[in-house]
């Protein structure tokens, strides 16, 4: 044990990567297995969303027809004035708010303050549900305006398929996240994780922050382009 601790101090910086990976024991030292697994899952999810966004870029740069102007398509008329991307901006701020409450839940979890951790997890789930609600409103509005996966009134027909695919897959992640948060929060209150350091809150948080992270890229590439 003392020998291991001594060896630990010998390597620093990049050399620790080689040392951790070649140590013939747990590679990700100090990381609970559940957290490592969640990270690996999120890495694979990163590739899924990247492929969607890359496919969208490929489609968008190859259409002969003009791409519908997202700024106009997603504008809402407030008091007679069209405000571009209003709902999308509110959805963005709602998701950041939920990320903040999640970060607080993780922090209270590690402080073993179960009551606050659970409360903030429910609050996060609430903001997530609000996001899904706003997305349902957005879909309803676009569908009523004639947007379909194969046509739309404003330009390149591929707009609809890209929109429904990308925001739909993201919305599915948010919905799953809301269910995940509620399930884990209930389990915490029932005392299932009392013998742990409550890293489960951080693991759930990783998934939730990832959902916010994906939205950052969707917002930039789908709505602002």
């Amino acid at each position: 044990m003392a020998q291991a601790a001594q060896a630990e101090t010998e390597v620093t910086g990049l050399a620790t990567i080689a040392k951790d990976w070649s140590s013939d024991v747990t590679t990700f030292k100090g990381v609970p297995w559940g957290k490592a697994m969640m990270w690996i899952f999120l890495l694979s999810d990163t590739f899924i969303f990247s492929i969607f966004l890359t496919a969208y870029m490929t489609v968008r740069t190859t259409t002969a027809e003009a791409w519908p102007n997202a700024s106009e398509v997603f504008s809402l008329t407030m008091f007679g004035v069209p405000v571009p991307l209003l709902l999308i901006a509110i959805m963005t701020f709602d998701l950041i708010t939920s990320s903040g409450t999640m970060a607080l839940a993780v922090n209270y979890g590690y402080r073993r303050d179960k009551r606050r951790a659970v409360r903030f997890m429910y609050l996060t789930a609430f903001f997530g549900a609000v996001f899904v609600g706003m997305q349902a409103f957005e879909w309803t509005k676009l569908i009523s305006e004639g947007v379909r996966p194969f046509e739309n009134p404003w330009g390149a027909p591929q707009f609809g398929s890209c929109f429904f695919m990308i925001t739909g897959f993201h919305g599915l992640h948010v919905s799953a996240g809301v269910a995940y948060l509620i399930i884990i929060a209930r389990r915490i209150s029932k005392g299932r994780y009392d013998n742990t350091n409550f890293e489960i809150v951080e693991i759930t948080g990783l998934y939730w922050h990832f959902v916010d992270l994906v939205w950052v890229f969707i917002f930039a590439f789908f709505y602002l382009w």
């Binding site: 910086g13 990049l14 620790t16 990567i17 951790d20 990976w21 590679t27 990700f28 030292k29 100090g30 990381v31 490592a36 990270w39 890495l43 990163t46 590739f47 990247s50 492929i51 890359t54 870029m57 490929t58 740069t61 190859t62 259409t63 002969a64 027809e65 003009a66 700024s71 991307l85 901006a89 963005t92 701020f93 950041i96 990320s99 903040g100 999640m102 970060a103 607080l104 993780v106 922090n107 590690y110 402080r111 330009g155 350091n197 409550f198 890293e199 951080e202 948080g205 990783l206 922050h209 990832f210 916010d212 992270l213 950052v216 890229f217 917002f219 930039a220 709505y223 602002l224 382009w225």
Partner: protein, 118 residues
């Protein structure tokens, strides 16, 4: 570096990052009022990466993890840049094919295709 008892950080850190994310998002939204161009694209990408960076580094605690995990997570997505580059290079060929072989009518807004004008 991570400790055995998980990630312990002062609450003020999260409040700071939370506030910063709001500011960066507001900046990101503000780019929608700008005219299209290189400056707007640069700002969109800068705000995007700054925001993503804060979420991953602080909220997801990646900054505080060991390098073995950081590199395992950040290096693989790097190949996506290659995919994006290849797909972008391929797109003007597909675009021409649509016009030459399928007789697609070209909207004036789509000329010249980005990347083809020199």
């Amino acid at each position: 570096m991570s400790s055995e008892v998980g990630q312990q950080h002062p609450l003020t850190l999260y409040f700071w990052i939370w506030g910063l994310l709001f500011v960066v998002s507001a900046g990101s939204y503000a780019t929608d009022y700008m005219d299209a161009g290189l400056l707007r694209w640069a700002l969109i990408l800068i705000f995007m990466f700054v925001k993503a960076g804060y979420i991953v580094a602080i909220f997801m605690h990646l900054k505080y993890e060991r390098l073995a995990l950081i590199y395992a997570l950040l290096l693989p997505p790097g190949v996506i840049v290659l995919l994006v580059g290849l797909m972008y290079m391929e797109s003007d060929y597909t675009w021409l094919t649509r016009i030459v072989f399928f007789g697609a009518e070209v909207s004036p807004e789509r000329l010249p295709l980005p990347g083809t004008h020199h």
